[in-house]
Symmetry: C2
Subunit: 245 residues, 2 copies
DNA sequence: CTGGTCATGTGGTCACTACCAGTTACATTA
DNA sequence: TAATGTAACTGGTAGTGACCACATGACCAG
């Protein structure tokens, strides 16, 4: 990783600067709560305009690496987990972070016409068909969640079993294969009790408490992309989220 | 609400412009998915520099009102609920949004030395005292949640019963009385079963499933401000969150 | 009809300049 | 000594001017 700005590089200078600063933070060269050089100082250090400096800093502030105090300076945030929600809402990434080995059993992968309620959530007209994926999610080989996804894909956009088995991450497929980059999501969580069928799949007793998550995922342009329902085993799962203003 | 830029107004021009555009979106003058005037057009319409225009638009994009497409234009997002998480994580605001009448029974308000685990979450040294608030939260008169807050306040910073009863919102007190503006939070949610004591307070049967939320709230400077534990009645509460990248 | 080229409009990046608004330390003053 | 001003920082707002990257539609050559 370079520590200087390359003006001939295709990547924008503000981005190069942000990378340099982020690296210095991650490596501990810039200590938490300590001030980074002022904008005027950075100007002469890297021979960039203040506009560019501020753009870089602004990005790092957005990402939670820095915080500013008017009249005092710009400071390094004490590092929290600090992971994007994409990684948090992705089941597989999520499990890895908890130190568990992710696994899955794909129970279904097909095109269906879902219930009116789901179509409405996806803002599709009645009778539209979507791609439905049903999976049992495993952590260290034990069932942890029962996940059913409904994807608003055109009939010519196919997801194959191979895709799913290769990555395990739906979001990676969406971005790499269809250029769909999720940017927002609405999610609800509530408590429910396992039906006999669900209990069998999750290897628990019927009536055991479950955590039910329903999420609608939106693309950059605010188009609903996915409706997903996940039933988590209440005894083996803790939902985590990081909220930013 | 004015629809022009007042250069003598103390509020920044980019903010004035953002307000004007937001208003036009909310009133429907700018339709969802339609393009707003280009940056060069806005320049001549409002007699502002492109810098200022872009600052205004950037803010609205951050807030989810607009989205940009390079080479095509800037467009109005289809309006979702679009509420800040502050309002969502505030119990009282939250209930109002669901059309319920919020209420509370204050069971305790005192300074205590909490458990080491809570002190650690608040990044305080062992033996530190914090302000503890225990409340039963009501919706339309019925118990919905059991909330215990631990606030990292100095011994000279006092919250009174009157404060709490006046607003019901802790976050309003934090900002208005102590100039503490929460900006981020870590939250976990899991399923648990009601102890006899909890069951009594929530007016349910012991062993009934509950939604347990634990949250650590951070100020602008990433200092932990509040540790709060909420037990929600599983049968009467649905947790909602909006995730943004 | 197909595929390329090009002009034009869009947002994206960047430099330079100026002044405003908080914060702090320190010298000055009452 | 205590209050107060002030200079020298910090980040915040704003204008101007330039060029780049991407999207689109009109046009032309095959």
């Amino acid at each position: 990783m370079s520590r200087t700005i390359d003006p001939y590089n295709a990547v924008p200078k503000y981005y190069q600067l942000a990378s340099i600063l982020r690296q210095k933070i991650e490596e501990g060269e810039l200590q938490p709560r300590s001030a980074i050089p002022s904008e005027r100082q950075l100007e002469s250090i890297y021979h960039l305009s203040r506009t560019t400096i501020r753009e870089a800093i602004y990005n790092l502030v957005q990402q939670g690496f820095l915080y500013r105090e008017h009249g005092r300076g710009t400071f390094v945030s004490p590092q929290k987990l600090q992971k994007g929600w994409m990684e948090l809402t992705s089941f597989s990434e999520d499990l890895v972070k908890r130190g568990m080995q992710p696994g899955q059993i794909i129970r279904g992968l097909e095109r269906v016409v879902p219930s009116p309620r789901i179509l409405q959530r996806l803002e599709l007209s009645p009778g539209s068909s979507v791609c439905r994926i049903e999976r049992v999610r495993l952590g260290d080989g034990t069932p942890i969640g029962l996940q059913t996804s409904y994807l608003a894909l055109n009939p010519d956009q196919h997801i194959t079993l191979e895709d799913l088995e290769a990555t395990g991450s739906l979001y990676r497929i969406l971005s790499e294969k269809f250029n769909i980059y999720p940017s927002e999501a609405d999610e609800t969580l509530e408590v429910t009790l396992a039906t006999p069928e669900e209990a069998a799949l999750l290897e628990i007793t019927p009536g055991a408490p479950l955590l039910l998550s329903e999420r609608v995922l939106f693309s950059q342009e605010r188009r609903p992309v996915e409706y997903v329902k996940i039933l988590y085993r209440g005894d083996r799962y803790q939902y985590y989220t990081h909220l930013k203003r």
